[in-house]
């Protein structure tokens, strides 16, 4: 199974994701979850970026927060809503929202 988790928050989702197996996990950073792709809290990148190579971030949610694609960590693929639909149907077997 490939599970795509939509990460919608900066702080409260991390603990749940940390304990999940990463084998078939993908993360889609949306809403305030986009900060995981950008911020270096205490100088360190988000632990989520090392969890899986399947990382996406939603461009519309960067844009509304005044963040640009250049600020996004290189491992994270920037997608828009249309791209997100394809990711949901093609890249994962099931999806969940955290």
């Amino acid at each position: 199974m490939k599970l795509g988790v939509l990460v919608s928050d900066y702080k409260i989702c991390v603990e749940t994701i940390d304990r999940m197996k990463s084998d078939n996990l993908g993360l889609v950073l949306v809403q305030n979850g986009v900060y995981h792709a950008v911020l270096k809290e205490g100088g360190k990148e988000s632990s989520l970026l090392g969890k899986t190579p399947r990382l996406y971030v939603l461009s519309e949610d960067l844009q509304s927060r005044g963040l640009s694609a250049e600020q996004v960590d290189k491992r994270v693929k920037v997608i828009d809503y249309s791209g997100l639909v394809d990711v949901i149907f093609n890249d994962f077997d099931k999806v969940a929202w955290l």
Binding site: S8, D9, S64, R65, L67
Partner: protein, 136 residues
């Protein structure tokens, strides 16, 4: 005739929920509260961003194009324009690696006020001096 000082402490990030955004619009309404008060009475909010509350107030926002709503940046600028005191916690900006020059000003709207980046201790002092403390 009395002024009532309030500390509005914004500790949730902008955008995902509505509470942090409502802090800004409620603070702005201090301009018109005199219609409901006796002559000379005023309410003065100080708007303080702490913790995760420092997220989502950067400049360069465009929430209108994707979502059809005014940005929180615009509301921060409006607060400066109507002479509200706006404070952002220095330690929290540093913690999240947000440079001070990423914060908006309202010079283009000819506002005299600018955002005050201050240590948390100063925000605690504002809370102490306020008659009421409201967390958003």
């Amino acid at each position: 005739m009395a002024d009532v000082k309030c500390a509005f402490i914004v500790q949730r990030p902008q955008y995902k929920g509505e509470t942090s955004r409502l802090a800004l619009t409620h603070a702005l309404s201090y301009q018109t509260v005199e219609v409901l008060l006796d002559d000379g009475d005023t309410v003065t909010p100080s708007l303080c961003f702490v913790g995760e509350g420092v997220l989502g107030i950067s400049k360069g926002q465009n929430a209108m194009a994707p979502y059809g709503i005014n940005s929180s940046e615009l509301h921060v600028k409006n607060c400066l324009l109507v002479d509200l005191d706006v404070y952002v916690c220095k330690e929290d900006l540093e913690k999240y690696g947000i440079p001070e020059d990423q914060l908006p000003d309202a010079a283009d709207m000819e506002a005299e006020k600018t955002i005050n980046v201050v240590p948390f201790a100063e925000i605690e002092k504002i809370m102490e001096e306020a008659k009421h403390v409201l967390f958003f």
